[in-house]
């Protein structure tokens, strides 16, 4: 039987059955994230293989702009910070209002990210850069919106968790769910760093 304790668990008495269950749940979620990471890795590989497939259409230099991308990165990084604050609030039992405030801020930052990204895509479409234009654009729109869809799922999850915190409070199941959501959110931040570096910075400096 495993004796290791997952850092950050605050589910009552250490080593009790619910603590063990939570450890199991969190471990399972990590494993799921690894499989998701593989999906992203393959999308990155596909993107790399299809950089040459511009078929006479617009390429990275024509389309990517650094300023909105930097702002989007800042938004996501900030949202990871605010979720960290939410986790601390959960750990020290600050009470629902504090927890909900940090969760709400994270949600807001996530929505801003999505809004900006949607705007970026609209701009690209206006320039004739839509996925059906070329293989390169298909690969771009396969990878980046995949991350965006994950963020959208995360935002819905934050909303659902907020409702649970309000209606049910922070019992063991809610806490475990919040910890998993945290893992998911930070994971998406890491994926965005890769997207930013490989796709946007890489594309602009080729």
């Amino acid at each position: 039987m495993s004796r290791s304790v997952h850092v950050g668990l605050t589910l009552g008495e250490e080593g009790g059955p619910h603590h063990q269950q939570a450890e199991s749940d969190l471990f399972g979620f990590w494993v799921f994230l690894m499989s998701d990471a593989l999906v992203f890795a393959l999308m990155f590989a596909t993107y790399g293989a299809m950089l040459v497939g511009t078929a006479g259409g617009p390429g990275p230099r024509d389309l990517f702009e650094l300023k909105p991308t930097l702002i989007e990165t800042a938004l996501l990084l900030a949202s990871s910070f605010t979720w960290g604050m939410a986790s601390i609030s959960l750990k020290y039992g600050d009470g629902k209002p504090g927890l909900l405030a940090w969760m709400g801020t994270t949600l807001l930052l996530g929505m801003c990210f999505l809004f900006m990204e949607a705007n970026d895509f609209a701009t690209m479409f206006a320039k004739g850069a839509f996925p059906a234009r070329s293989g390169f654009l298909s690969a771009f729109f396969g990878l980046v919106p995949l991350h965006g869809l994950h963020v959208l799922a995360g935002c819905i999850w934050i909303l659902v968790m907020a409702v649970q915190v309000i209606l049910i409070g922070t019992d063991d199941r809610t806490k475990t769910n919040l910890l998993r959501l945290g893992l998911f959110w930070h994971f998406l931040d890491v994926i965005w760093i890769a997207v930013f570096s490989v796709v946007f910075l890489g594309g602009l400096t080729r």
Binding site: M1, S2, Q20, E23, S24, D25, F27, G28, V31, F32, M34, S35, D36, L38, V39, L42, M43, T46, A49, M50, V52, G53, T54, A55, G57, P131, A132, R133, S134, G135, F136, L137, S138, A139, F141, G142, I156, V160, Q164, L167, I168, D171, R173, N177
Partner: protein, 695 residues
């Protein structure tokens, strides 16, 4: 009759999409067979519904099975699904063999298109809806019992995995009744399966059935891996795990890392087909070679996913029925892990002929051959397990022996194929088909059938009929040799796979033998059905309630047959490998505990069936462009998950009094029956209590 019928509601459905309409308008044998198959699905579904209604069993089915989160029930349902799909895919194989025997300088009785759908459904079903569910069901049933746990790590996810697999299988069955299936084979290479060349619903059925099924497999993999990592009972260190658990662990890890490439491949193809993307199109910068790479990054580990659990079964069976310790436990562990790791390094050998440089081909060829070493180690370890043992020729052992001899033939033909210049000759010929069936049938199928005969008494409390078991075994072995050995010769003669018509009369004798073999394999399936029927009929004579019919070594044999819902009244503590076996020899493993505590078990949940229905609706809607249905399905699945997260009371308590009553009943059965020697294990004297063999 063509033209869309109510496109807003029914998408791109037209009357001509019904096989009954097609057969009416064009009554050829090919169309009538298609209509017959569709009719069988409808009649079969109605028959099952009718039976449930007449016997008043709907509530029972719902509460005892479909909503159950018990790993044992879920495991059994997976295996039942596998057997149903095995029947369909085997009949499809017989039809193909018949076509090839008849269509020599003659059009045969199946159109090219029908034949192409048959080989596509046959492959897709056998891999995704027969082998995967069978081994997943097996791992689900056995692993928690073997590690001394009460259930898997995530029972709710277990139910979802089953539901998704069933949803994928449902889509396969739907393609028989409405529309048609893909003609691109189980590997579905674009651009043939792209919009430009196959705009019909076929490839879409393939995409969604396989994608939904693969999601189920990923979930199952995560579940089993976490179960083995986190839920082992006290004292069960990794090196005390039964060999079946080691192979299950490696299989699960493979599932977690190999299913995502498939999901990506089919998802990108879907984006091409639905939204006009250019991942795999010929024009505008598409890259068809990328599909081959993505698919086989999944495809090669997949074949190890289907074989490793069988290897685990053979380890258990050979050791038990040689009445001896498994030889070379540590070597077997190292060999299993080596195979798992190496399986990710060889995928290019599935397309040596795609134009890579000699260096790349050679490197992957050498990696492929390297896997032969740990596999050979396993075979020899099983041989040396029998050495100086006392070998009992029960049905599971017979399958193991047939496996050891037949599988090596497939293994060496694999080494032949691993050599690129030889692969250039044999790729996509019947030699390749013979090779992989030579691995899958003696390897995976015999392993699953051995497991079925071995663990059936544990799951249901009575043994399977030996006589019909042997008849089935004989048919499987003879049928396999006759059906597939000729294919090696035909492949060496240059005959292509997936071909509905043959123009070379010299191929005739071999195709006739192969067809004969196929009929014998059909008889094998029939024998299995008879075996089950006879076993159920005679179950009072073969009851093994005490739970240990084979003098088993591992923990699952230390429970009643069938085990109670909670598996163990008190979680066992383990101090060595084969704790139960050693315990029978130096102690009393059947002594009741000092006291009974309450046990929490998962409550049943509607989550699984809801997600299964939602997934199948979503898939079906996407196939037919019924966007409202697809949206409804997707929303339904999301809603089910969100709703589940609000449920607080997910477990129910079994009281100590209840447990004590169950355990007492079982221990009474143990003590009232005489322990029997191994010579009597196939007789009526076997009530599930074993006597130690004198050394």
């Amino acid at each position: 009759m063509s033209g869309a019928v109510l496109p807003a509601v029914l998408g791109r459905f037209e009357w001509i999409d019904l096989p009954f309409v097609r057969a009416w308008e064009n009554p050829t044998i090919s169309e009538i067979i298609g209509a017959g198959a569709g009719a069988l699905v409808v009649v079969g579904a109605l028959a099952v519904a009718g039976l449930l209604t007449i016997t008043g069993r709907w509530r029972w089915l719902w509460t005892e099975w479909l909503t159950s989160l018990d790993h044992k029930k879920i495991g059994i349902m997976y295996v039942v699904l596998a057997f149903v799909m095995l029947s369909r895919a085997l009949i499809e194989a017989v039809l193909m063999r018949m076509q090839q025997a008849i269509a020599i300088g003659h059009p045969g009785f199946l159109t090219n298109d029908h034949f192409a759908q048959l080989f596509s459904t046959h492959g897709s079903i056998m891999i995704f809806f027969m082998a995967m569910p069978f081994l997943t069901g097996l791992m689900n049933y056995v692993v928690p019992l073997q590690i001394g746990a009460r259930d898997v790590a995530f029972p709710w996810a277990n139910s979802i995995g089953l539901a998704l697999t069933a949803a994928g299988a449902g889509l396969m069955m739907a393609s028989l009744v409405i529309g048609q299936f893909s003609t691109g084979g189980w590997s579905g290479y674009p651009p043939y399966t792209g919009l430009a060349f196959s705009p019909d619903v076929g490839p879409d059925y393939w995409i969604w059935a396989v994608s939904i099924g693969s999601l189920g497999s990923t979930i199952a993999g995560i579940n089993i891996a976490c179960t083995i990592y986190k839920l082992r009972c006290p004292g069960m260190t990794f090196m005390r795990l039964p060999m079946f658990c080691w192979t299950s662990l490696c299989t699960s890890i493979l599932m977690i890392f190999a299913m995502p490439p498939l999901t990506v491949a089919t998802a990108l193809l879907a984006l091409d087909r639905y939204l006009g993307f250019h991942f795999f199109t010929n024009d505008l910068g598409g890259n068809v070679m990328n599909f081959a790479n993505l698919f086989w990054l999944f495809g090669h580990p997949e074949v190890y996913i289907v074989i490793l659990p069988a290897f685990g079964v053979y380890s258990e069976v050979v050791s038990t029925f040689s009445t001896k310790l498994l030889y070379g436990y540590t070597s077997l562990v190292i060999a299993t892990m080596t195979i798992a790791v190496l399986s990710f390094t060889v995928w290019v050998h599935h397309f040596f002929t795609m134009g890579q440089s000699a260096n790349i081909n050679a490197a992957f060829g050498i990696a492929t051959m390297a896997i032969g070493v740990p596999t050979g180690v396993k075979i020899y370890d099983w041989i040396w397990t029998m050495f100086r043992g006392e070998v009992r020729f029960t049905v599971p052992m017979l399958y193991s022996l047939a496996f050891m001899t037949t599988f090596v033939i497939g293994g060496v033909t694999g080494i032949v194929l691993a050599i690129p210049p030889l692969d250039y000759v044999f790729h996509n010929t019947l030699f390749l088909v013979a090779h992989f069936h030579n691995m899958l049938i003696p390897g995976t199928l015999y392993g699953m059938l051995a497991a079925y005969n071995y663990w059936f008494p544990k799951a249901f409390g009575f043994r399977l009929d030996e006589r019909w078991g042997r008849r089935a075994f004989t048919c499987w072995v003879v049928g396999f040799y006759l059906a597939f050995m000729p294919l090696y010769v035909l492949g060496a003669s240059g005959m292509a796979r997936r071909t509905a018509e043959i123009f070379e009369p010299d191929f005739r004798p071999w195709l006739y033998v192969a067809c004969g073999g196929a009929f014998i394999l059909l008889a094998a399936l029939g024998s299995l059905s008879v075996q089950l029927w006879v076993s159920v009929r005679d179950r009072d004579e073969t009851r093994v309630t005490a739970g240990d019919p084979w003098d088993g070594r591992t923990l699952e044999w230390s429970t009643a047959a069938p085990p109670p819902e909670y598996n163990f009244a008190v979680l066992p503590t383990v101090t060595r490998r084969d704790e139960f076996y050693e315990g029978k020899r130096d102690g009393n493993p059947y002594s009741p505990p000092v006291r009974y505590d309450r046990i929490e078990v998962p409550r049943g949940s509607i989550l699984g069936p809801a997600i299964g229905l939602a997934a199948m609706s979503c898939g079906f809607g996407l196939v037919w462009h019924m966007w409202w249905l697809a949206g409804l399905g997707l929303t339904g699945a999301a809603a089910a998950i969100i709703a589940r997260s609000f449920v607080r009371r997910t477990d129910r308590i079994i009281s100590p009094g209840e447990i004590e009553a169950i355990e007492r009943r079982w221990l009474t059965a143990v003590h009232e029956h005489r322990p029997i020697s191994r010579e009597l294990e196939r007789t009526r004297a076997n009530h599930g209590v074993a006597e130690a063999m004198p050394t």
